[in-house]
């Protein structure tokens, strides 16, 4: 039960910095109601241990989790709008999960397997991918940051995505 102390720490960081983290979510999702949903889910994710390693900078990590979830909420909502507008009946096609042969693996296992896959990439490739996935920088901005060509950044991101494509979900 060693995990407990770090779980509590992340949960506490989230609570102590609630206002600041909420404003990060609010900027992305647009309404206070959705921002609160995001914070709630972030809290649950942190408590259930949705991270794989010891986190060095707990506040930064909480910002990462909140931003990531807020962007996911935002995308999901625009996906639902798309359905309403562009499909005749507006109904989502129902795909029962039973038809997947593999078992659904837990979030924690998935994070570990992604972490492993990314760990096998050359350090610069992983750096490019983290800037792309987490900071939301464009490929051009990443090229500037890493002082290399946009073409190289494009290749590095492709390599990282290919590594993710091999993860069992």
């Amino acid at each position: 039960m060693q995990v407990d102390s770090s779980v509590r720490t992340l949960g506490e960081v989230l609570i102590f910095n609630h206002a600041q983290l909420r404003s990060i979510a609010l900027k992305i999702v647009g309404t206070t109601e959705l921002a609160d949903d995001v914070l709630q889910e972030a809290y649950l994710k942190l408590v259930e241990g949705a991270y794989a390693r010891e986190v060095e900078k707990p506040f930064n990590y909480c910002c990462q989790v909140v931003r990531n979830l807020a962007l996911d909420y935002y995308r999901r909502r625009s996906l639902e709008d798309t359905y309403r507008i562009y499909t005749e009946d507006g109904e989502l096609p129902h795909v029962p999960y039973e038809c997947t042969p593999e078992k659904i693996i837990s979030g924690r296992q998935l994070i570990e397997s992604i972490d492993n896959a990314l760990g096998k990439l050359p350090p610069r490739t992983r750096n490019a991918f983290e800037l792309y996935r987490l900071s939301g920088l464009t490929q051009r901005e990443i090229a500037k940051e890493l002082d290399c060509s946009v073409t190289l950044v494009n290749f590095m991101i492709k390599d990282a995505v290919e590594a993710l494509m091999g993860c069992k979900v």
Binding site: I24, A50, C63, Y74, T82, G107, C167
Partner: protein, 80 residues
């Protein structure tokens, strides 16, 4: 038959990832892109399944603590 299935499966998986990446790069997709996406997603149940899997991996990739120095909130402030 089995080869056909596998290559089709792989093509759907590749398409699903292309959409996930496209959506990551484009926060405000234009109607044309959304229409194309809706058409692809509803064309076959396997498309939605592949998309959901790819999207789950993408979401959880965002929960992996970075090994490099990354700023998270800088761009949120810039978005306005």
């Amino acid at each position: 038959m089995s080869d056909d299935f596998n290559s089709n499966h792989e093509a759907v998986w590749n398409d699903a990832w292309s959409w996930v990446i496209k959506q990551h790069e484009c926060n405000n997709p234009d109607p044309d892109m959304q229409r194309k996406f809706a058409r692809w997603l509803t064309a076959d149940p396997s498309h939605k399944l592949a998309y959901e899997k790819a999207n789950r991996i993408w979401l959880f990739a965002g929960f992996v603590p970075p090994v490099n120095e990354i700023s998270f909130d800088a761009n949120v402030a810039d978005d306005e």
